[in-house]
Point group: C4
């Protein structure tokens, strides 16, 4: 399961660059319209890297896998697979309202899918397992989804304010899930 | 063999998203024409995930690999590799007759290829092997191909009725192959 | 080295399908112009599968890897990476003279690169190694390159005659390299 | 970490070929405008192969991985992921000033990112570790970045002179990092 997920994440993070369309002109000015697409690319690159990082840490605390877990994992990969599309739409439209709303929606669905996968794994391994203890009340996971929803709402006032909520989520997840890391060491 | 197959499946499932062409407009309405492409994408995503899942389970019950098995596997990957093309054609033409027929044909060929691979592996491992017992009469595999052929036929009456047959196949395969799983546990 | 090569081969074999451009029409007739592209796709799919198969078998007989071997491998991957381009050019131009010549040139270079890699590995492992014995005089490798060159020459008379030489090479390699397989078993 | 990095590098090196757009004509002359794109492709292929080679060697000398290392690695992959874009822009514009400057900038950033990753790993493993000794004063890494910066500067005089600096860097890295290889053997 980990090899397949790692493969899918590696492909998602790399094919996003295909949406950075090569400009026809050769002067410095022809790069300028690419700036929002690039900004959008950087955020999504960090997001997918965070998911890979946390997914990777989580898998190392896993001992059993059931059919339900496999499908919870596919469900997560599905939402992550939509990132290249959303990234391109948001970038090419210079962070317009609906692209920012869609990006937040897909990001929130991915967050919920990760939450489901994590809790699915925790319930299989039992209350006293490394993974269940590490998740605890999973405040970070819940806060992320709340921030995505806040971002979607705020986008209707100002798309950039909404977008800044997504940047905030990336910032709080930037550090790999120390909860699992700490519990694993013991 | 498993690493290569996993890689190919991971790439197929991910590059399909490249056919979800980014719309030029930035308003909500510009997403609407993408709905059939998205629906087509969701079905194919589930199909490839099912194949990965079952392929993965099958490989864990395998001890010997021959040249014939290698080519039976490449044959399966060939038909699966045509999914991104069929998915896009069916989605972009809003489930027209011929795209639905082609999708069903490729899906049926993939089903037959999986059947050949499974029986090839079963015959190598002998009548009493985990894999042979697990397959049994392989009703599910045969029913799938019958449903695909029914879907192709029904598409000439109504493309959506034909398409619903393909959804039905996905539904009956949704649960990982418990036959192998059960026999492996013993 | 095997994981990286397997990854590159899995990507090459899969992204070739992106050159099968989705037709705009939805009727049966719109598939017809795709036929030469599809034929070209099938041949290249078989070629890459053969390379993966033989590369995979060869790697299992390998115990030592040097810097030279790593670069001989990268050299092989380079020529194989040009297959999606040549496949598309040959298919889209309905097997015209120059596309057929280029396809044969790239195929011949890949054949030579495989020959270099194999002999590089054989010389490192010594005269009495499994890999050296398995290669023997490597008639099959030499015949392939000769057939490619013949195909390039014949293409100037008739492109389809030239192309049939490439099909012949695929036919003689279709069976995995039994030489290595046999020697490994002992 | 190695599997994910290998995956990303395998994808980068392979999708670059998608930027070698298939020409519409079928005659020999229609290949001619592709020459600069091909030249650009060859250089980038060698670069990514060098990074894979050295990254691979470095990972084999690594025993501990921290959160900081994971992010230093993602940082390196980020700059490498921009290669397909820069390669295409430089090739399609026949080595114009700004494309050559951008290529050098991304290459320099990747060089700096590799330097950071290597020193991050060396500091974790301690002064007397294989990896720290192998790096030594890391002259090669520093010289590369200096050559990239020289190339960027020289591009303002003549783009080809600037470009030749990048070729020089590829030449000095062509041989896998013998420093680590040598120390590993002891």
């Amino acid at each position: 399961m980990e090899a397949f997920s790692d493969g899918v994440l590696a492909i998602i993070i790399t094919i996003m660059v295909l949406e950075l369309k090569v400009p026809h002109g050769a002067d410095f000015a022809s790069l300028k319209p690419l700036l929002p697409v690039f900004l959008s690319y950087v955020l999504s690159f960090i997001y997918i890297a965070i998911y890979w990082n946390n997914h990777h840490h989580m898998m190392h605390a896993v001992h059993k896998v059931t059919g339900t877990v496999l499908w919870a994992n596919v469900h997560l990969l599905f939402w992550l697979s939509l990132f290249p599309f959303c990234t391109a739409w948001m970038g090419e439209n210079n962070f317009g309202l609906w692209p920012v709303v869609l990006y937040g929606t897909v990001a929130a669905m991915a967050g919920i899918a990760y939450y489901i996968l994590a809790h699915c794994l925790a319930s299989i391994h039992g209350k006293d397992s490394t993974i269940a203890k590490a998740l605890g009340k999973d405040r970070k996971g819940i806060i992320s989804v709340v921030l995505y929803l806040a971002g979607i709402g705020l986008a209707f006032i100002n798309a950039w304010v909404g977008f800044s909520m997504y940047v905030l989520v990336a910032a709080i997840w930037f550090i790999p899930d120390r909860r699992i890391e700490k519990n694993l060491e013991q």
